[in-house]
């Protein structure tokens, strides 16, 4: 087996073993009901994590995702509740704004040649600031369309419910997988993560690709925000604080190399599910507190960063950039 698949294989194995252990302790965790809730409860995280996967594969990082989720939720709520727009029109506006926001960050990263983490940090401040200026409080969304969407689900055998947003997350993973692994744009993303200098020499449109990657990341952040507003039927400027870290953790645990170049959209799904499993276990246990989730995720993150370090340094990847006399 290609050693690069080892982190992904490890994640899958850990997920299966952990789930099996959970079921042994709480047999009721083996039900479509729990599985259905898995998808519904983590839908917004999963959708945002797909965007984060693209960004990280390209060798970047996006710290603004959580803030974009918050902004998108607030913007939806304002457009629907305060301005009385139809939700679908509101969604279109929100997604457009989010994509433009991401494109702006991508452009700054490419043209100013500054580290992505600092640009997206500014983006995070900006998005949270704008959201907080729109409203400081939670705005409830009470619209026919929202009620319809929330009540729609596909009844799984065993009583589980596959909700619209759960289904949407799976769809995003599917489309994300196709884009990453089957399109030219996808190959550019990997090329950028492998070695941007080589990629440019080989004719990859580096500027366009960078801008498109961050636009896609924020688009999915916006979609996640809409999903979050559907999930909570409201928009709140401080929603999803710190979610960017959960998304990054899901990506890394899913076998994507944090320094870029290698990764799988499908792996991120397992990463998200593993986080969901930890949360569900804590709920079932009842005595453990929710803070264990963060510690567990931190530990998993560390394990996988270390595992990648071992796998990749053993292979002695050479991506030294050639120095050009100035």
């Amino acid at each position: 087996m290609n050693p690069r698949y080892r982190p992904l294989a490890a994640t899958t194995l850990i997920f299966i073993v952990a789930y099996a252990l959970c079921i042994m302790q709480y047999p009721s965790m083996w039900s479509t009901r729990v599985l259905g809730n898995f998808l519904t409860d983590n839908a917004f995280l999963g959708i945002a994590a797909v965007g984060a996967t693209f960004v990280i594969i390209s060798g970047g990082i996006d710290l603004s995702v959580g803030a974009v989720v918050g902004l998108a939720g607030v913007l939806s709520a304002v457009l629907i509740t305060k301005l009385g727009l139809h939700p679908l029109l509101a969604f279109a506006i929100v997604l457009f704004v989010a994509s433009a926001f991401g494109a702006g960050m991508g452009a700054a990263i490419h043209f100013l040649r500054v580290p992505p983490f600092i640009v997206t940090l500014a983006g995070m401040f900006m998005a949270r600031g704008v959201a907080s200026i729109l409203t400081q409080d939670s705005i409830p969304i009470d619209h026919e369309f929202y009620r319809t969407i929330s009540s729609l689900y596909y009844l799984l055998p065993g009583g589980g419910r596959l909700s619209v947003i759960g289904l949407l997350m799976l769809l995003v993973f599917l489309v994300g997988g196709v884009i990453a692994h089957k399109t030219r744009f996808g190959s550019y993303v990997y090329a950028l993560g492998g070695n941007p200098t080589s990629a440019a020499l080989m004719g990859v449109p580096v500027g366009f690709t960078t801008i498109a990657i961050y636009a896609l990341g924020s688009f999915l952040g916006g979609l996640a925000g809409i999903v979050y507003s559907l999930y909570t039927s409201s928009g709140y400027p401080l929603a999803a604080v710190g979610m960017e870290l959960d998304a990054i953790a899901a990506v890394v645990i899913g076998g994507t190399l944090l320094t870029g170049g290698y990764g799988f959209i499908f792996g991120t799904l397992i990463g998200v599910m593993l986080q969901g499993l930890v949360q569900t276990y804590i709920v079932f246990d009842g005595t453990l507190s929710s803070w264990w989730t963060k510690i567990a995720i931190g530990l998993l993150l560390f394990m996988f960063i270390l595992l990648q370090k071992l796998v990749f340094s053993a292979q002695g990847r050479r991506t030294r950039l050639q120095k050009v006399p100035a």
Partner: protein, 506 residues
């Protein structure tokens, strides 16, 4: 035989200036269809600058380029590629994290409705590689293959995209003998297909084995272009090192070469894949000159002695002890100093002041707490600025603003401030102007007279002859000759480098 009509790419009067340094001065060169043209020269001779100009990575400051008789100019590698000039860089510039077929076809994969047709891409990749006798899994990541195969993929890509001129920048640097054979076979096939091939190497054997024509560059000038059949090894080395041997009149250094006490002896020091085990005795008050072409193992030997790389064989015997130097820090504590070859990357702290650049090694040796105060630093720096005649407006000027020669003196001062007993200078005079050049040569002799032991690596034979009490010659990662006394002449050194005549005189 190739004729003038066969000229594909011709460059005339190419000049390139970086800041106040002229990298290329009016170089003429032409490449012909169906010919392998070797481009030779030491580091800093201007080879890579010339290549970058011919491939569109740099824009020349003077001169013209003609492709098949038409004047052309390009500002990006893509433009050069589209016009037919393809390049394979020294560090294989592909994407190790992607599949072989991605690497061959990225950006031009056959696709429909935005979807890449993978099986069609892979089939095309197999067809292309079959021309090179390569039958590999094109869906595997490039990094899972050896450098040799990566090299062939890079060549295949360059030929696919360009098809008139193929530039190979040191393609054999990290290949073993068998892989080199395979590569040469491919190059010969491409030559037969009518490509003009530019081949950059520092292995003389390969020049004679593969090339039809040789151009030698030195210090930004073209020394000459000759058919290989008109040259022998000694003649070629002479062209590269630029010695007009007839007029040589520098006698060997005065004094008995074996006079000083032995400072240390190097016993069977080596590192697999870098330097073959070698023996060397270093005495106080002598300069051991190290001659050899680029890639002969001369710098690698220095790195082993200074602990930048850690030897896996042999040891140094010093102060009655036998030891392997495991870090630069250990070397410094033994009283060693090292002026590295790449001044900018490994030597100077560009943004820091001349004063800080001079005291840093001494301060590192003193440690964190025994800090030199500002006045002490200024005094030390001032002393060395005066003693070495470092030309700077002030000791507080950032060192990056100084000329190359003065930067070299600053690094020398840095080590002299630590009161060393052994100094290694790797190409101390490269890329510096004539005046500073002479000063540094004089300084080396003065340090020797002061009782220091020095190892000086240089491709300037005149220079080596003028200050060395002994000269060792490196070839193919091994120490092949040690010359002393009357044997220290440019012609003997050239013979030893070329591998003719003087095997192990000592």
């Amino acid at each position: 035989m190739a004729t003038a009509e066969d000229v594909v790419l011709e460059a005339r009067g190419i000049t390139k200036i970086f800041g106040n340094h002229t990298a290329l001065k009016g170089v003429d060169i032409s490449f012909r269809r169906g010919e392998v043209h070797a481009l030779l020269g030491e580091n800093g001779a201007g080879k890579s600058t010339l290549i970058k100009i011919l491939t569109g990575a740099y824009t020349p400051d003077g001169g013209t380029i003609e492709l098949e008789g038409q004047p052309v100019s390009f500002t990006t590698p893509q433009q050069a590629q589209a016009l037919g000039i393809g390049t394979v860089y020294q560090e294989v510039n592909l994407l190790p994290n992607m599949t072989v077929s991605d690497n061959l076809f990225i950006g031009r994969q056959p696709s429909a409705f935005g979807m890449v047709n993978r099986s069609a891409t892979d089939a095309m990749a197999r067809t292309v590689l079959a021309q090179y006798g390569l039958d590999i899994d094109v869906r595997a990541e490039l990094s899972t293959y050896s450098v040799a195969i990566q090299q062939i993929v890079a060549i295949a890509r360059a030929v696919e995209l360009s098809g008139k001129v193929l530039i190979l920048d040191e393609p054999t640097a990290s290949l073993d003998r068998h892989e080199v054979e395979k590569l040469f076979e491919i190059i010969r096939t491409l030559k037969a297909r009518g490509l003009a091939i530019v081949f950059i190497t520092h292995f003389l054997d390969q020049v004679f084995e593969l090339s039809d024509r040789v151009t030698v560059l030195r210090n930004g000038f073209r020394v000459g272009s000759e058919p290989v059949s008109a040259l022998d090894r000694t003649g070629l080395v002479r062209m590269m090192l630029g010695k007009d041997l007839v007029h040589h009149n520098n006698g060997p250094v005065d004094g008995e070469p074996d006079g000083g006490d032995v400072l240390m002896s190097v016993r069977q020091l080596g590192l697999t894949g870098s330097v073959l085990p070698l023996d060397l005795e270093i005495r106080k008050g002598e300069v051991v000159g190290v001659a050899g072409l680029l890639g002969s193992g001369r710098t690698e030997m220095a790195r082993l002695m200074f602990g930048i790389d850690v030897a896996d064989n042999g040891a140094l015997h010093i102060d009655g002890e036998s030891r392997v130097v495991r870090s630069a820090r250990e070397a410094v504590s033994l009283g060693f100093g090292f002026c590295p070859e790449d001044r900018k990357a490994d030597g100077i702290f560009g943004d820091l002041s001349v004063r800080e650049n001079i005291v840093i090694a001494m301060q590192a040796r003193l440690g964190w707490f025994r800090a030199l105060n500002r006045d002490e630093q200024l005094e030390i720096a001032g002393n060395f600025i005066e003693a070495l005649d470092i030309r700077t407006a002030s000791a507080e000027l950032p060192v990056k603003l100084l000329s190359g020669g003065n930067q070299q003196k600053v690094i020398l001062a840095r080590w002299l401030a630590t009161d060393p007993r052994f100094l290694i200078l790797d190409e101390p005079t490269r890329g510096i102007d004539v005046g500073a050049h002479a000063e540094i040569v004089r300084m080396i002799s003065r340090l020797r007279e002061d009782g220091l032991a020095l190892v000086v690596i240089s491709s300037e034979l005149d220079e080596i002859v003028s200050y060395s009490s002994r000269v060792v010659v490196m070839r193919d990662r091994a120490l092949v000759a040690e010359l002393r006394g009357a044997d220290i002449t440019p012609s003997r050194i050239v013979q030893a480098i070329a591998g003719q005549g003087v095997e192990n005189v000592a």
